[in-house]
């Protein structure tokens, strides 16, 4: 295979992104590289800037500093975190999906059916959008992102509101899509520890990049086994944080490891609830 010899294509290359709203620092020197066929998962506490980073990558929000290079003519399939459709808008699932296609053509139906079958909701095709459940809405949004045949899938908390078994299936589906189409995937996870098993790189964000690495398989993690037993949620994996600093009760950075002073200039705004969360991390 000659393809394997080629260097991986960089879809998104972000260097030292900073984002500031007034006095509030949202992102601080965040760098990110995403290649074709690669899955990157963003995790971090609420207010860590995950969605802001995604918005910058999508071009919905300009960064205050730093550079962002996108592959020319990059087709992005975007799955937003929330979709609220007014009950006053009579819109069927089919019609909602047609909006993603450039022109309303006669041959749009097979394409739509295919993406609905892929996400397992073809029976909803004529349902009104405003009556869908949370999990169904997530699948419809994923179907819409896939319709554009994207080079890059950007998924903002794709499994929120979906039960653990459903999460596992959705993650499996996203991994399959990556394998079949070779697209890159940038995903925000709603959970600090459980991520999609097929993830290549996990980035833990808290204004700055706290740590990054590869997730380990769920079945190897004793804490997960204790909690859920020997189940086959093969789509999910555990990410072990390797922070070289703590966030103290005031949210300030305490350097616990003398080796590295990590982003010493940044201000953390952890709430006490998040700090409690942090203590549960198994810091290296």
């Amino acid at each position: 295979m000659t393809d394997a010899l080629k260097p991986p294509q960089s879809l998104i290359q972000a260097t030292d992104l900073c984002l500031q709203f007034g006095e509030r620092q949202i992102l601080n020197n965040v760098s990110l590289n995403l290649n074709a066929g690669e899955i990157v998962t963003l995790i971090g506490p609420n207010g860590a800037g995950k969605t802001s980073l995604v918005r910058v990558v999508l071009g919905l929000q300009a960064a205050s500093q730093g550079t962002l290079t996108r592959q020319p003519n990059l087709r992005i399939g975007y799955m937003p975190q929330k979709l609220h459709i007014e009950a006053s808008l009579p819109l069927s699932v089919k019609r909602f999906l047609q909006l993603a296609l450039r022109r309303k053509s006669a041959d749009s139906l097979p394409v739509i059916l295919e993406s609905l079958q892929l996400t397992g909701i073809e029976h909803l095709i004529n349902n009104p959008m405003h009556t869908l459940s949370g999990g169904e809405t997530q699948r419809v949004l994923l179907a819409r992102a896939l319709l554009r045949n994207p080079d890059l899938l950007v998924l903002d908390e794709p499994v929120q509101g979906v039960d653990v078994a459903g999460q596992s299936r959705l993650y499996q589906l996203i991994a399959d899509i990556r394998d079949q189409r070779g697209c890159g995937v940038l995903m925000v996870s709603h959970d600090l520890h459980l991520v999609m098993a097929a993830t290549d790189t996990v980035i833990c964000l808290n204004q700055h990049v706290c740590c990054h690495g590869h997730p380990s398989s769920v079945t190897e993690d004793p804490a997960y086994l204790e909690l859920f037993g020997q189940t086959t949620h093969s789509g999910i994996a555990v990410y072990t944080h390797h922070h070289d600093h703590h966030h103290d009760i005031h949210g300030d950075v305490e350097v616990s490891d003398s080796a590295a002073v990590h982003e010493s200039g940044c201000e953390h705004t952890h709430s006490p609830a998040h700090n409690r969360d942090d203590k549960e991390h198994r810091h290296a």
């Binding site: 992005i76 975007y78 979709l83 009579p90 069927s92 019609r95």
Partner: protein, 261 residues
């Protein structure tokens, strides 16, 4: 039927043709208050038209368009909540219009006509104005229909998918302003929002697609105008408010039906 009734009917139907689809967007995008603000400020436009002694229709149209642009800008940098902002602007403009008209143009202006409409006094030139507005607004609506629906569903999703969201949204606001400026003739500044919202709301349960809702809202709007004129003709009631009451009646009737989608 006397000629002035034909003029009134044509004017009302022309306006209803535009308020159907635009009113649907007002309902879907929760822009009722936006419509109110533009309508109330139309009175200030009247006042300035009189002071500067320019054509009142032109003054109102320009004033509404400028205010719509101002609202677009203000909505983009959100320092105050949109509904608070609209509430302040809306009533400030109405009060300003009332004060300025009474100080500078007392006696020259039929304030009642501006507030509640003067459908039965529709002139040939009013009809021409409405026809020109429809000639601008209806083709624009058809041309921008898909992107308009796309930004109504989810603005950021639409933007990622390549819709020029800011441009489409601004155009919608400007069309709204244009229609409000001519609809003033039909139901007056206090009741324009009713003509936008009520027919659209009344058609919701009868339809399955956004297009059907827009067309159905236009049809209900025209029926309401015809009904209002009939009531006005036989019982000597004000035509605009009677039309609004007819539309409300249609809305009440529609509640008896189960939603189609």
């Amino acid at each position: 039927m006397p000629e002035f009734m034909w003029f009134a009917l044509l004017a009302g139907c022309g306006v209803a043709l535009m308020t159907g689809p635009l009113g649907s967007f007002a309902v879907w995008r929760r822009m009722a208050y936006f419509g109110d603000t533009l309508a109330h400020s139309a009175l200030t436009g009247v006042a300035f038209g009189l002071i500067l002694s320019v054509n009142v229709n032109l003054a109102v149209t320009v004033f509404c368009l400028l205010l719509a642009l101002l609202l677009v800008v203000l909505q983009n940098n959100r320092t105050i909540a949109t509904d608070t902002l609209l509430g302040i602007l809306s009533h400030t403009m109405l009060a300003l219009g009332l004060v300025v008209v009474s100080v500078f143009a007392n006696g020259w202006v039929d304030l009642y006509g501006f507030l509640f409409g003067d459908l039965l006094a529709t002139s040939a030139s009013d009809l021409v104005n409405i026809a020109i507005t429809a000639g601008i607004v209806l083709p624009l609506l058809i041309w921008l229909w898909r992107p308009l629906i796309a930004i109504t569903v989810h603005e950021e999703l639409a933007q990622v998918e390549g819709v020029p969201v800011a441009w489409v949204r601004t155009t919608l606001m400007l069309m709204m302003a244009l229609v409000i400026a001519v609809a003033m003739k039909v139901v007056g500044v206090l009741l324009i929002t009713a003509l936008l919202i009520i027919p659209a709301a009344a058609s919701r349960r009868l339809v399955k697609t956004p297009e059907q809702m827009a067309i159905c809202a236009s049809a209900i709007g025209m029926l309401a105008i015809a009904g209002g004129l009939a009531i006005s003709f036989y019982w000597d009631t004000p035509a605009g408010p009677s039309a609004v009451l007819c539309a409300s009646g249609f809305f009440a009737l529609s509640l008896a039906k189960k939603p189609a989608l």
